[in-house]
Amino acid sequence: MRIHFKTSYHHDIRLFPDRWTLCVYGALLALAFALPYLIGEFYLGEVTNVLIWAIAGLGLMLLTGQTGQASLGHAAFLAIGCYANTILIEQGVPFIIAFPLAGVITGFVGLLIAIPVLRLHGIYLAIATIALSVLADDIIVLTEHWSGGVSGKFPEMITIFGFEIERWSMPSRFYYLVLVVTIICTLFYRNLLRSPLGRAFAAVRDSEVSATAMGVHIARTKGKAFGLSCMITGWAGALMGYYAGTFNNETFSLVISITLLMMIVIGGLGSIHGAFFGAVVVAFLPQALSILKDNVVGSGVAIPGLETGVFGLILIMFILFEPMGIYGRWLKIRTWFELFPFARKDMFRRQKSYLKTERLR
C-alpha cells in the first residue's frame, strides 16, 4: 500500500498523484511511442483503431459519464467531423488547420443542436438523439452536392508542411498522428476534470437542483458539455474517415452510435480509463469472434448479427454484475492486491436505492 505525504495543495491538483503513477504512465507512453518498432503493420493498424475509438469514447464520456446526458446520436457528430475535415481539405485548407477546425465546427453544430435538445430529460434526450442519428444518414444523401451522397468520399492524403501521412502505405506515421491526437484529447479531458467546469459537469449529473442553488447555470453547462463532447467526437470522426479510407452515408449509422454508448458503459462510465478499456473491446471483439467462429463452425460461414449479439450480451453481463465496467473491476482487483490480505468482500457493496420519479402525476 502506498502512502502519500502531501505538503501542498498542488499535490492534489497535478496530473499524477505520486511518482509511482507518473512512472507507470510514463512507461505506458514510452511503450506507445515505441510500438511501431515492436509489432507488425496489421496489429499497428488495430491499435490505431483502438485509439480512434478511444478518442470518440472520450468525447461521449464527457457528455454521458461526466455530465450524465446519454446520447444515442454521436455517430452523427462523427460524420460531421469527418465530412467537415474532408470538405475543408478539398477546398484547399491545409490539414494542420482543417483538422482542428473540423472539431470546432462539430462542436458548434453540437452546441446549436444542444440548445433545444438539452431541455429534455433522460429518455426523451435519448430518443431525440436517436432521431438525430437516423436523420444524419438522410441528410448526407440529400446534400449529395457536398457530401458525395451514397457514392461517398475518399479522404486525400494528409500533408503537414510537406510531410506526408497515409493510413495504408505508411501506417506508423498515421499511428503517430492518432497517438498525438489521443494524448491531446486526454489532456483536455483531464484538465477539464480538475477545473471548475468539470466539477460543474458532475454537479449537473448528480443533482440539478443543488447545482442551480450553487450558481451553476444548468442549460449553459450542459451546452458546454455537449459542445466539447462533439468537438472531440468530431476529431475522432475525421480520423475514422482516414482509417476507413472511404465513407458514405452508411458509415456513421445508428449502430455506431449505439456501439459507442455501449463501449463506454462496458469500459466504465465516468473515467478516462473506461473509454480506453471499452475501445479495446470494440476494436478487438470482431477479430476475436471471427477467429472463434472459424474454429467452431469453419470459415466462410456468415452469421449475421453475431458481433452485435455478443457485444449486447457482454454489455448485459456488465450492467448486471459490474455496473462500473472494466475500470470498476480493475479498481477492485487493484485494491484487493494493495490491501492484501485485508480486503473485504463488501467494500464495494452497492447501496440500496429506490427510484423516485421527478414526475408529479
Binding site: 429518455i123 426523451y124 435519448a126 452469421i303 449486447g312 455496473p323 429506490y354 427510484l355
Partner: protein, 291 residues
C-alpha cells in the same frame, strides 16, 4: 379516392406503431423506464406465432396458436424482468435504456439463428381476402389490425384507470419507496407489467406477421414507434395510439407528395419538432422536481 386509400393504409401501419408504442407506455407508466427492445419483442412474438402456426413447423390451428403465443410472450416478459431487469431495481433510467438496447441486439441474433434471415410470412386466416368498399381496397388484415388495436388500447386504458392493480402500477412508478411502504409489492407489480407488455408485443407481432413478411430486423420498426410514443406523450395510452396513427398516416402521404429522400425524414422531423415545441408530447405530463 387516392387520398382515402393512402389514409387507410396509413392507419393500418399506424396501428402497428401504436401497438408497439403501447408497450413502451405500459412499461414507462409502471417503471419510469423505456424498453428499447419493444420492437424486438414484437418480432419475437411474430416468429413464435409463425413457428406455432405454419405448416412446416408446428402446424397448429391459428386460433389455438394465437392465444398460446400471447401467453408465451407474457411469460417471456415476466421471466425477463425476474432474471434481468430486477437487478437494476432502483437504478437510473439510462442503465435500463442501454440494457434494453443490448437486449434487442441479443434477441435479433437469437431469432436469426433459430428462424434464419429470409423474410417469412405467417399463414394467418387474417391474411386472406380484401374488402372493397367504394373504390377503396382494404386488406382483411388491415381491418383486423385497426379493430384489435382500438380494442386493446381501450382495454388497457380501462385497466389503468379502473382496476386496483392498474392503479398500484402507477403508484409504484411514481415513488417506489412510498409505494413499497404502502404495501404494494413493487417488484411483483413490475414483473406483471413486463408480462403485460410482452403480451401486447405478441398481439402486435401476430397482426404484423399477418400483414406482411417478417425477418429478425423487423424489430427496427420500434424506432418509428418511439416517434409515435413521444409524439403522443410517454405517459398516455390513448396518446401512444394517436401518435402511432399520426406517424402511420404521415408516411404514405409524405412518400406520395414529397420528393424522394425527404419522405423518410418526415416522421423524425415531426418527432424533433414535437420534442422542441412540446417536449413532453402532445398529451403531456408536467415534470417538476420537488425539493
Amino acid at each position: 379516392m387516392e387520398v382515402l386509400q393512402l389514409l387507410v393504409s396509413g392507419l393500418a401501419n399506424g396501428c402497428v406503431y401504436g401497438l408497439i408504442a403501447l408497450g413502451f407506455v405500459l412499461i414507462y407508466k409502471a417503471t419510469e423506464a423505456v424498453n428499447f427492445a419493444q420492437g424486438d419483442f414484437m418480432m419475437i412474438g411474430a416468429f413464435v406465432s409463425l413457428g406455432l402456426t405454419n405448416a412446416e413447423h408446428m402446424n397448429l390451428p391459428f386460433w389455438v396458436a394465437a392465444p398460446l403465443t400471447i401467453s408465451i410472450m407474457a411469460v417471456f416478459g415476466y421471466l425477463l424482468d425476474l432474471f434481468v431487469l430486477r437487478h437494476l431495481f432502483g437504478q437510473n433510467q439510462t442503465a435500463v435504456v442501454i440494457l434494453t438496447i443490448a437486449m434487442g441486439f441479443v434477441l435479433r441474433f437469437i431469432a436469426g439463428i433459430i428462424w434464419g434471415h429470409e423474410p417469412q410470412t405467417l399463414e394467418s386466416p387474417l391474411a386472406l381476402g380484401d374488402l372493397h368498399i367504394g373504390g377503396v381496397v382494404l386488406g382483411m388484415a388491415d381491418v383486423a389490425i385497426i379493430v384489435v388495436t382500438f380494442l386493446l388500447t381501450w382495454f388497457l386504458y380501462q385497466f389503468f384507470q379502473r382496476t386496483k392493480l392498474g392503479l398500484a402500477m402507477q403508484a409504484a412508478s411514481q415513488n417506489q419507496m412510498a409505494a413499497y411502504f404502502m404495501g404494494i409489492p413493487v417488484k411483483r407489480v413490475q414483473g406483471l407489467i413486463w408480462g403485460l407488455s410482452g403480451a401486447t408485443a405478441a398481439v402486435a407481432g401476430i397482426l404484423f406477421a399477418s400483414k406482411g413478411a417478417i425477418d429478425p430486423n423487423a424489430g427496427l420498426l420500434g424506432i418509428k414507434a418511439f416517434a409515435a410514443a413521444v409524439i403522443g406523450g410517454f405517459g398516455s395510452l390513448p396518446g401512444a395510439l394517436a401518435g402511432g396513427l399520426i406517424v402511420g398516416v404521415i408516411e404514405p402521404f409524405a412518400a406520395r407528395y414529397l420528393a424522394a429522400g425527404y419522405s423518410q425524414i418526415a416522421p423524425y422531423a415531426l418527432l424533433l419538432a414535437v420534442l422542441i415545441f412540446r417536449p413532453h408530447g402532445l398529451f403531456s405530463q408536467v415534470r417538476v422536481k420537488k425539493v
